[in-house]
Amino acid sequence: MFFKPSMFRHPEFRIGALESLGAAPGLAAWALMTGVAMMNSGLSTFEALLMGVIVFAGSSQLAAIPLIASGAPMWVVLATGFCVNLRFVVFSAHMRSYVMHLPLRERLLTGYLMADLSYVQFTRRYPSHGSTPEQLQAQQAYLAGNCGVNWVCWVGFGVLGILLAGLVPTRWGLGFAGILALLGVLFSLASSPLRWVSAGVAGAAAVAAFALPYKLNILLAIAAAVAMSLLLEAGNRANSATSEPHS
């Protein structure tokens, strides 16, 4: 997407960039706060900069911070990051038809840059994938502009937050803003009763099993919550299947 100069001259590049800029103030504030939270958690400046520049996924960064700080094993941190990111797997299934004409390298780059906001704005502008090379080209140009601005904004303000973190004493507890950000994302995901059940079971199990070593309480909580939700879902389906003929 970024490899051809013709992308930058395409009119859709500008439109994608402008739509991304519209959401930039909120993103910038979140990135700034993530930068501060990374430094306050005890990451070294190099580690915080590395995370701020390459990870490019706010909620998995924020979820990883307390786990890294408590010395959880690598696979627990990575598995938690994977679970937090599973919503992107759903997006990738949807995006497949938009990007399969690209070589693998460009598909992976597109995926890497496809954060929540870009996905939402892109699929709103293009409800279906292009059927001609010109349409596909226009969609790629839009993505290049949109994701480009998004990346620059997230990384730029994240780095700024890392640099400014030293000015505010850790005692203030500004890192708690990271937890509040995750809470906001959690609320925005709570779109069905069973998702609330999943959150409730996971939260309770994570507290109840807190004494487990290696932060395994996190993975246990996720497994218990997903299993409970799937069981209740299967139960609901069985109930509606038996009651439907009468209704």
Binding site: A181, R195, V226
Partner: protein, 117 residues
């Protein structure tokens, strides 16, 4: 964990998290052959992200050094409630997460810094 010092383990975790960003965001278009997840996994995708967030967030709000909090006089509880009140009480669709952070911190900072909760 010593604070402020770079160690190889943490750097590897960070590189791994970046790889997971690429993997999860590209999963369905890495292979050029069409394929589908098994049904239970597709359904599980509906519930795993919110479970992961709750598993990380809830202990950070209601526990102190591995113990369930003994007192309701804790700035984090009221900040989380304020964030929730803002999120579910707001009229506008935009900047929902940002508003949750701002509302929560406006309650957290005075309680934490002035009252010392």
């Amino acid at each position: 964990m010593s604070s402020g010092e770079t160690d190889v383990w943490t750097v590897l975790v960070i590189v791994g998290l970046a790889a997971i960003t690429v993997l999860t965001r590209s999963l369905f278009f890495i292979s050029s052959r069409p394929w589908n997840l098994p049904h239970w996994a597709q359904r599980g995708l509906q519930y795993a992200p919110i479970a992961a967030l709750a598993a990380v967030v809830v202990p950070e709000v209601v526990m102190t050094q591995g113990q369930f909090i003994q007192s309701w006089q804790d700035a984090r509880l009221f900040a989380a409630l304020a964030g929730a009140a803002w999120f579910f009480g707001r009229k506008a669709q935009r900047q929902a997460v940002l508003g949750t952070i701002v509302a929560g911190m406006l309650v957290y900072l005075p309680l934490h810094l002035v009252w010392g909760w």
